[in-house]
Amino acid sequence: MKQFLAILKDSFREAMDAKVIWVLLGLSALVCLITFSLSFTPEPPDKAFEQIVTKFNFVFPERGKGKLPVILSDATAYTASNVQTTADGYTLRLTTKPSGNPLFRRGSSRPDEKTSQPDSLRFAVVNWQKPAGHTRTMGFGQNGPPLEGAEPQEVTLEEAETLTDDDLDTFIQQQFAVHAGMDNVTVKRVTDGVKQPEYAFDVVIHSTEGVRGWPTTTKLFFGAVTIPAHFPLGMVLWFIEEKIINGFGATLTLLIGVVITGFFIPNMLRKGALDLLITKPISRPALLVYKYIGGLTYMLILTVTTVGGIWLVLALRSGFWNPNFLLLIPILTFTFAILYAFSTLIAVLTRSSIAAILLTCGFAFFLYLVGVIKFTLDDFRADPTQRAEVNKTVGDVVDGIQFILPRYKDVDRLTTKLISDATLTPLEQYALAKSKVEYPSWGETFGVSFGFIAVMLGLACWRFQTRDS
């Protein structure tokens, strides 16, 4: 253990000696500063709820369990009124009435005038209860962008009429949860003075937090620049955490990490340097594995400072503490561990830092490519209309390669899921990731990747052990 800690400390010293890490830490501090300059001003409750309820025409079937929403094409006009702020949240009156807008007909990609529903709310609630209809790319609204969604199911008059007030209340309750992340909501239908097909509900929201779905005015550089659109706070956080940090930042850090650490093991294996180490009372495999783990400290330093810093700054500025984002620290380090295991093997085989860096970069690109191709193929295969277009041989080859290789792309997708789950509403997740492909399992993704790391290190240790210095 003492030897392990000694090598860890030595690797830390080596990492800190590389000037590039200071540049990266400086960049990290700059990103933290820019993030700190962000300010988030929630829209006033009346305006916020006005915007939130317009999304209620997206209904996730199977009581919210469905993956794709039924797009009801503004069939119901939802209005939030009399919004009051209370000690622990808000109260409001939600009224609904049919807008007269047509719905999609089965097999049609545009709304049809004939499908206008006389009682659009009950139609929505029945669709919320039923399994999803056929998947179809549909125009959102009259002239909106095409979105992939579930077709509305046919609803009989009997089905609509058998709905109870509790069903309606629960539906509205769940719509608040799905579209605004508000889980503690009490809904009670109001019948006095309201005639069907119009409806009214008294809504009590026992929460002042409105991260997901709550429209927010975002300003940059300490208020100097105002972002025009009122994106929900969660979506802004998602953009920073997912696109800037997990996307661009992580890729840059991984690549620079491969370059910097690509020198570590070849440096150790240099003539004159290696002899000093392998004549110490430590076995060669232990030395190599400790050195490998030590190299990971490089990535750990960068991710802890960058991710930890951004997480802290975002939480302080937005008031939203997203622990999921912190998981990026071990996940990014793990992703780097995959590449560094490969780099270690190349370094032991060639003793060349240039070879280790170039081949590892190439390997990373190859893994990414395999992941993207596999993902695209799976997307095709998930769609019955496109499944036949996938060449079986190509599919089998890609599946085979993906099976044995570490799940570089899958780790990235799972990270995206982690961040998205915490910051985005299901509708936003659906809108931002329109894939039909299920997320990979954590167990398989990390299991196969760990296996790959073990094989790489095993081969490296074997070669290191059996060769002369």
Binding site: K2, D10, D17, R270, G272, L276, I278, K280, S283, D468
Partner: protein, 331 residues
């Protein structure tokens, strides 16, 4: 008690035979010198003993354990030739790092690191980065790191390389002190003068073969050659001596010592196989001459070494791919 023992040790790097059946024994408390041309196999021998390279044939034991045994390394110090320390360390932090690898306790490291660096004369710069050190300072640091954990056996491969003459003397004295404390030192050096001054026993490797081995006195002795000097003015009985089978050669006149002592003439007397100097001494006495000088001739270690390797091809480097690069390695 032997601390190092090799039996018919051989090592091959592909087609290159670096060691060809080397057998030697180093006793505890000795300073043992290993000589040889570049590529003779000296460094290979050390590396085998330390487990850095694998044995092709034969056996090697270090401290009663097979060479390369990991646990034995706690009792062994090593200064490699052409060592390269990580530049990001200071002298102190490097010693601290190696001390931890050797399992030296924190308290001991705090106490011994400044002491050891003081011993080799670089304690004043121990907190400076190694990349700012001169070659000589790095060499001293290399020696220091090999001593930190108080090893029983110390392998020093060219320890005075890059060190100034004063520093060399200090290192020599240090080795002497280590020997007095019971340490065994295995020294690999090209500086034959140093080896002659400090080593108890010496082995000479040539093209992977152990060609000579013994004490300094044994190696430098010129068997069968004596210097003889008579009192001033007396004539050496050259003819009679030649008739007795001795070969006689006049060397020079030598001073008689301090003060006004007279000059004496010196002759080199060569003996044939089985002959002793006693008959010539009797002849001188019988002739009434006065014997003033009689010593068995010796040569310097360098002479002995050159005589041993005379005619050998220049040393070769292991990494050479040329076909002529056969017969050894100096790694």
């Amino acid at each position: 008690m032997s601390v190092i023992e090799t039996r018919e040790l051989s090592k091959e790097y592909g087609r290159i035979r670096a060691l060809k059946g080397v057998s030697l024994t180093v006793e505890k408390g000795q300073i043992y010198g290993l000589l040889g041309q570049n590529g003779a196999g000296k460094t290979t021998l050390i590396k085998i003993l330390l487990g850095i390279v694998k044995i092709t044939g034969g056996e090697a034991d270090l401290l009663d354990a097979p060479a390369g045994t990991t646990s034995i390394r706690e009792r062994v110090g090593y200064l490699p030739e052409d060592h390269q320390f990580p530049g990001y360390h200071s002298g102190y932090s490097l010693m601290d790092f190696y001390g931890q690898l050797y399992g030296v306790s924190r308290d001991d490291r705090r106490r011994k690191i400044p002491e050891t660096l003081e011993l080799v004369g670089i304690s004043g710069r121990m907190h400076s980065k190694i990349k700012t050190y001169s070659k000589g300072m790095k060499q001293r640091l290399g020696i220091a790191q090999s001593l930190l954990h108080d090893p029983e056996v110390i392998f020093l491969d060219e320890p005075t390389d890059g060190v100034d003459p004063l520093g060399r003397r200090e290192i020599r004295e240090l080795m002497g002190r280590l020997k007095e404390k019971g340490h065994t030192i295995f020294l690999n050096s090209h500086l034959l003068g140093e080896v002659e001054l400090i080593c108890d026993r010496v082995a000479i490797l040539q093209k992977g073969n152990l060609v000579r081995e013994g004490t300094i006195a044994e190696l430098t002795a010129q068997k069968g050659r004596f210097e003889v000097g008579l009192a001033s003015g007396q004539k050496f009985p050259e003819t009679e001596a030649t008739q007795l089978g001795y070969s006689i050669k006049h060397i020079a006149a030598a001073g008689g010592g301090k003060g006004p002592a007279p000059t004496i003439e010196l002759w080199e007397v060569g003996l044939v196989e089985g002959q002793t100097i006693d008959r010539l001494v009797r002849l001188i006495v019988e002739k009434g001459l006065n014997l003033r000088h009689l010593v068995e001739r010796k040569q310097s270690l360098e002479d002995a070494f050159l005589a041993t390797v005379e005619g050998a091809e220049p040393g070769v480097d292991k990494r050479s791919r040329k076909p002529m690069a056969v017969g050894g390695d100096d790694r």
